[in-house]
Amino acid sequence: MSQIRFDEWVREIREAVGCECEPYDGIQNEYTIRIPAANLRDVMGILKDRFDCYHLSAITAQQHEDRPEELEVIYHFWKGEGISFVMTLPLESLVIESITPDLPGADFYERELAELYGVSFSGREEIPPLLLPDDWNQPPPFLSKKD
C-alpha cells in the first residue's frame, strides 16, 4: 500500500476545494486535517478521484467539555495510513451533506450518527431506523444538550 504524501494531499485539497484546511498535530497515528463541514463532499470527491482513497474506517462524533455548544465530527479514512478530517457543527443545525452518493459504504455510519447524535444528512434518502426501536420518540441518546 502506498503511503500518504500528506503535504501533497493538503495542497491538492486546498487548491481544488478552495477552502480553509488546516493540518494539525491532533490524533496520534493519524494525519489530521480540520475542514469546514460545508466542504466535506468536495473533499470526498478529491480523495476518491485524485488519491484513490476509498476506505472510510469510521465516523466519530463527540462533544468537548469546553465547547458544549458544538458537535465535532471526524471522518477517519485509511490508505495504508490513517487520515482524519475533523469538522465542527453547531448544535442548532446539525446538518452535513451525505457522502453516500460517492461512497455507499458510509451509509451505516451516517445512520448511526443520525440516530445516536441526531445529525441529519442532506442529499440522501430518508433514514429508516437501524439501531433504535421503531417507536423511539426521545432525543438522540448520545447527545447531551445543556439547557
Partner: protein, 360 residues
C-alpha cells in the same frame, strides 16, 4: 407469483445473535430486503466514558464473544499511544500470539457454521472439535476459554511458561493435520462446492465502495491486511502470506478463511520461535494525559478501529469503536437480492456475522 414477506429474525434458527431482516420472496426467489440492528446494543461507547481506563479493559472484552482479545489489544494500544509508553517486546509477541490463536478459533468456528448451514453437520462437528484444541491453549495461558482478560494497559497479564509452550507446540502440530484434513474434505466435496460456488459474488469495486475489510475483501481480490499494511509490532517482523482469491463468491470466502487458518498456525509457530525474553508489562499511570489516538488491528473478520480521546482524567472522554461486521452488514441487503431462499444461509455465513460487535 405472489410476493410474500418472510421475517428472518430477531429469533431464527439461522441466527446465533439477534438481527432482523424482512425479505420479499416470490416462490424460491428473494427479491430484496431490509435490515434492522440494535437488539444487542449495549451502549458500550457511552458506558466506557463512565468507567476508568483500567475498568474499560474488561468492559471492552465483553464487546464480542469470539474476538475479545483483539478488541482489548486495540484499546490498550490506543491508551498506550496517548501515554507514550512502549510495551516490552515479549508482551507484544504474546499479544500477537493470542490474536492469531483467536483467528484460528474464529475461523474454525465459522467453518463449522457454514457447514451446518448447508446441512453438512459432520464438518461442523469436526471443525468445532478441532477448535477445542485452540481453546485448550487459551485456557492454559489465561484460564479463560473465550474471555481471556490477557491484556492490561502496559502489557499482558500472563506470561508463557515451559508448560504452555509445550502445549501450544503439540496442539498446533495436531491442528496442522486436522486443518489440512478438513481443507482436503471441503475442496473435494462436490455438494458443498455446488452450494457455494458462484453464490452472491461481490466485485472488487463493490468491496471498495462499501469499505469492506478482512477476509470478505480478500476473497474478492482486494489485497488488504492490516497486519501487513499498517502493522503494530511484532507483525512488522513476522513473515506471512496474505491470502486472496479473485472470485468473490461464497466459495472464495471459504477458501480464504481456511487458508488463513493455516497461515495463522505458521504464525503461531514463528512467534513461539522468536519469542524474546524479559518482562511482560511496564507500569502505566492511572491518569492519561489529554490527547487523541487512533488504532487499528486486523481482527479475524477484518479491521477493528478504535478512536480514543482523553481529557487528562482517569476516564476516557470519548471512545469510538468500529467493528468489521458493520460495513459487511451494510452490503447485506444488496447481497440478499436476486438469490435463492436456499442461499440465504450461505450468504449470511459468508459474512461471518458478529452482531454483538456490530451493535456494541
Amino acid at each position: 407469483m405472489r410476493k410474500i414477506t418472510v421475517p428472518i429474525g430477531p429469533q431464527h434458527p439461522l441466527l446465533k445473535e439477534p438481527l432482523s431482516m424482512k425479505l420479499e420472496i416470490s416462490g424460491e426467489r428473494v427479491l430484496g430486503g431490509t435490515l434492522r440492528l440494535g437488539y444487542v446494543h449495549r451502549g458500550i461507547e457511552k458506558l466506557a466514558q463512565q468507567r476508568t481506563y483500567v475498568q474499560n479493559v474488561h468492559l471492552i472484552e465483553r464487546i464480542c464473544g469470539i474476538c475479545s482479545h483483539v478488541h482489548t489489544t486495540t484499546y490498550c494500544s490506543a491508551v498506550e499511544a496517548i501515554l507514550g509508553i512502549e510495551i516490552p517486546p515479549r508482551a507484544q509477541y504474546i499479544r500477537a500470539l493470542m490474536c492469531e490463536l483467536e483467528r484460528i478459533h474464529s475461523h474454525l468456528l465459522w467453518l463449522g457454521i457454514l457447514a451446518k448451514h448447508v446441512g453438512l453437520d459432520t464438518i461442523f462437528m469436526h471443525a468445532w472439535h478441532d477448535r477445542e484444541l485452540v481453546l485448550d491453549i487459551m485456557e492454559s495461558i489465561s484460564g479463560g476459554r473465550v474471555s481471556h482478560a490477557a491484556n492490561e494497559i502496559g502489557g499482558v497479564r500472563f506470561d508463557l511458561d515451559e508448560e504452555n509452550e509445550t502445549l501450544i507446540r503439540t496442539n498446533i502440530s495436531k491442528l496442522h493435520d486436522q486443518v489440512s484434513g478438513v481443507l482436503d474434505v471441503i475442496e473435494n466435496e462436490p455438494a458443498l462446492q455446488a452450494r457455494t460456488r458462484g453464490v452472491a459474488p461481490i466485485s472488487t469495486d463493490l468491496i471498495r465502495q462499501y469499505c469492506m475489510v478482512g477476509p470478505i475483501a480478500r476473497a474478492s481480490g482486494l489485497d488488504v491486511d492490516l497486519r501487513r499494511d499498517d502493522p503494530w509490532p511484532p507483525y512488522d517482523r513476522l513473515d506471512f502470506n496474505v491470502i486472496t482469491h479473485p472470485d468473490g463468491d461464497a466459495w472464495a470466502r471459504t477458501i480464504v478463511r481456511a487458508e488463513e487458518t493455516r497461515e495463522s498456525l505458521h504464525l503461531c509457530e514463528a512467534i513461539l520461535r522468536d519469542l524474546p525474553g524479559g518482562d511482560v508489562t511496564v507500569r502505566a499511570p492511572r491518569k492519561v494525559p489529554a490527547g487523541e489516538a487512533v488504532t487499528r488491528s486486523e481482527a479475524p473478520r477484518g479491521e477493528v478501529f478504535y478512536y480514543l480521546r482523553s481529557d487528562g482524567s482517569d476516564q476516557p472522554a470519548r471512545l469510538k469503536i468500529r467493528t468489521p461486521t458493520l460495513p459487511a452488514l451494510s452490503l447485506l441487503p444488496e447481497q440478499l437480492s436476486a438469490i435463492n431462499v436456499a442461499d440465504i444461509p450461505v450468504v449470511l455465513a459468508g459474512i461471518d456475522l458478529c452482531i454483538a460487535c456490530a451493535d456494541r
